[in-house]
């Protein structure tokens, strides 16, 4: 057996040289490196393709939820309209209704009754309580925090509380903040809308006017004192319901995403939560829930 590979073996002279029009370069092709490389590649591909991945560790939290029929939700009911008490000791609000809706869908899918149990916790202690397994998930107007992703898993966002552009109801010109260039913009002093407006003021050169509350800024809008207001969905909805005359004309200018957090060892629970959120967004239930609780 020859000890070397031979490339295009026409003659012995051609075995180790490659010719071109100008120069002649000697080239040697040894067998050992090629053989070793081929073996390594073969073993690697075989390992990847033939050896099945170990089955994922079962999600004990999800198993317990299904078996016991109880979804334990950590909540700080001190933040209307997201979560608060109704005076009879019941937790109500958008987040509470969302938790109930999630559990209702699971009940249907599993053909087994499933209820929500709210576990109270101080807002700053929610993460620690989740880690200590005092409940299965945090659903308490929790903002997405990338720095926490080492400790918990976050669901899809179910609400964006970032500032939006609000214009008068009869204003068909204002669509983006570029349309407000060199015009008058109102914000609540110190709010996230204020922070956003200051960042763009130099470029768009609008006349930035400050108000003590979002309602004052929106009232100035309806009175024609400003041409647009940067405020959040809830402030706008509340004002629109009480006084009217305003409308949202943009997507959020900056993200303030609210999410649900579960422990790292709850991938199935997270997938189930995400599936319900996605379905609710698709079939309009989420929008209906927002209209029911956040626009009151």
């Amino acid at each position: 057996m020859p000890s070397r590979f031979i490339l295009k073996c026409k003659s012995m002279q051609d075995k180790f040289v490659i010719r071109n029009s100008k120069f002649v370069f000697p080239v040697r092709v040894g067998t050992l490196p090629l053989t070793v490389a081929a073996l390594i590649a073969f073993v690697f591909i075989a390992f990847v393709l033939w050896f099945p991945k170990p089955p994922p560790k079962p999600d004990g939290t999800w198993t317990r939820i299904v078996e016991e029929g109880v979804f334990r939700v950590g909540i700080d009911p001190s933040f209307p309209p997201f979560e608060y008490e109704d005076g009879n000791g019941n937790v109500i609000g958008f987040d509470a209704a969302l938790a109930v809706e999630i559990a209702r869908q699971w009940s249907v899918e599993n053909e087994k009754p499933l209820r929500v149990e709210f576990v109270y916790s101080g807002y700053d202690g929610l993460y620690d309580a989740l880690k200590a397994a005092q409940f299965d998930a945090i659903l308490s107007a929790l903002p997405y925090d990338p720095r926490k992703t080492e400790d918990v898993r976050f669901s899809f966002s179910y609400f964006n509380g970032g500032p939006l552009i609000v214009a008068r109801a009869d204003d068909d010109k204002t669509k983006t903040y570029f349309d407000l260039a060199k015009r008058r913009v109102g914000v609540e002093l110190g709010s996230s809308g204020d922070a956003f407006a200051r960042r763009w003021q130099r470029r768009l050169q609008y006349d930035l006017r400050f108000y003590h509350s979002p309602a004052e800024a929106l009232r100035a809008l309806t009175r024609g004192q400003v041409d647009g207001v940067f405020t959040d969905f809830i402030a706008q909805s509340d004002f629109a319901r009480r006084e009217g005359g305003v409308k949202i004309v943009s997507q959020p200018l900056a993200d303030e995403l609210l999410v649900i957090a579960v422990r790292k060892d709850s991938p199935t629970l997270l997938a189930q939560i995400n599936a319900v959120i996605a379905a609710m967004k698709k079939d309009g239930r989420m929008e209906k829930l927002m209209g029911e609780w956040l626009s009151q």
Binding site: D124, L189, G190, S191, A195, H212
Partner: protein, 426 residues
């Protein structure tokens, strides 16, 4: 097998021929007997070969030349490696102190508590103090942990502290140094960092001596300990104003030995309405009086005060039963009552919080209004030298309501309150 061997010989011979042709093709100087540089041969190698061929027959010289050639080859490889490493390594970040700056402000008492203790990068330290200066605040309060500087007994590492102080001073800021944080070697195992047994007060006094001596001419104000009227701030030894007074006594003389002009600031008490007998805390008004009762008057030069407004307005009238900004006036009254009217007051913490959910927070607009109002009230207090609010910026998020005390985000994004304070100061 034989034919293969023969074939190899032929191949080998052929390759030699090809190499010789190649060498000849590139060689411009075809002198007889002079080796011609090949593609891979550089000029130095050619010289070596030429010299070697000249030393033909002289064994010793030829051997030496071979060694020299190999040393040169190794040196070349090392040089190449150094060049590759130099190209691959990120360039050092050059941060200089820069030119001496001054603070432009209409209120020379304005200050802010910085949080540079855990700030690693020098450029962030510089950026922080630059922004403080640009905001119009000539004073900063900064924490210098004893445990960081003297992690090993008797061995001081001033590197980080020097960075902070030198950058701050270059921006025209006056530094008030807050001292605390007991190193491991000075406290029992498993005790908390605020635990300092009375038998170790002299150790802390030695540190204060070293600190005052090291920063003589650069730092003039030292705050001794933080909120000693809270049990956890004294390592759960129990709140004891007399014990704190003994700490002041231990520190005061040593600090003055190191720098006679140093000003010792006592107190920095937490404003609290803790009921009598509480194990967690002592009412700050009661605590200050107990300090005087224990003879503290002789051991401090000025009083450090924490003045938080919580949900009250900055101009809300003070009362012993309320915690608000003007509670400072009640502490001042105790000083006057105890014959210390001549001593100055420094507010080293204070302010409002605009967290959307914290029970003691206010709205962002109210926070801005009260902050500006507080700076203005402080300007009119003739007995007050500085009003440093909590806090300019955290090096990383606290991930709690505490993040809503700051003026600037960890990413150096100035919050609206920063711009409003800046506007006020101009």
């Amino acid at each position: 097998m034989r034919s293969i061997r023969q074939a190899r010989l032929v191949q080998s011979q052929r390759i030699k021929e090809v190499r010789a042709r190649l060498r000849a093709a590139f060689c411009q100087r075809r002198h007889a007997g002079v080796p011609c540089p090949t593609l891979s041969m550089n000029f130095a190698q050619a010289l070596f070969r030429q010299a070697r061929s000249g030393a033909e027959g002289q064994g010793a010289w030829r051997g030496l030349l071979r060694i020299a050639e190999r040393i040169f080859f190794i040196a070349k490889i090392i040089a190449l490696a150094i060049i590759i490493a130099a190209l691959g390594a990120p360039p050092p970040i050059l941060v200089t102190l820069g030119a001496q700056q001054t603070v432009q402000t209409k209120n020379s008492k304005m200050g802010i508590h910085t949080r540079l203790t855990d700030e690693v990068d020098e450029w962030k330290i510089k950026k922080s103090v630059e922004m403080v200066r640009a905001m119009g605040a000539p004073w900063i309060v900064e924490y210098f942990p004893w445990g960081y500087i003297e992690a090993t007994e008797g061995q001081y590492d001033w590197t980080h502290a020097d960075l902070v102080v030198d950058h701050a001073r270059r921006q025209g800021l006056t530094v008030i140094a807050r001292l605390g944080f007991v190193p491991n070697w000075a406290r029992p195992k498993d005790s908390v960092i605020s635990y300092l047994d009375e038998s170790r007060y002299s150790y802390f006094a030695n540190f204060v001596y070293a600190f005052a001596e090291h920063f003589r001419g650069r730092i003039r104000y030292l705050v001794i300990w933080n909120e000693p009227n809270l049990n956890f701030e004294v390592g759960y030894r129990g709140v004891d104003a007399a014990s704190y007074t003994r700490l002041l006594e231990a520190v005061y003389a040593r600090a003055k030995q190191a720098d006679p002009s140093i000003q010792i600031l006592a107190g920095a008490l937490a404003p609290t309405l803790a009921p009598p007998g509480s194990l967690d805390a002592m009412n700050d008004l009661e605590y200050l009086q107990k300090m005087y009762d224990a003879g503290a008057r002789a051991y401090f030069d000025a009083l450090a005060v924490h003045a938080y407004g919580w949900q009250e307005r900055a101009d809300a009238p003070p009362a012993p039963t309320r915690v608000n900004f003007r509670r400072t006036e009640l502490l001042r009254e105790i000083m006057v009552k105890n014959g210390d009217a001549g001593k100055r007051v420094f507010i080293t913490e204070g302010g409002w919080n605009d967290h959307p959910r914290w029970t003691k927070a206010v709205s962002p607009a109210q926070r801005i209004e009260e902050t500006l109002s507080a700076y203005e009230i402080g300007r009119q207090w003739e007995w007050l030298d500085a009003l440093a609010l909590w806090a300019f910026r955290y090096p990383f998020p606290a991930q709690s309501y505490l993040d809503y005390f700051t003026f600037v985000t960890p990413e150096f994004d100035a919050k609206p309150i920063y711009f409003e304070v800046q506007k006020y100061a101009r």
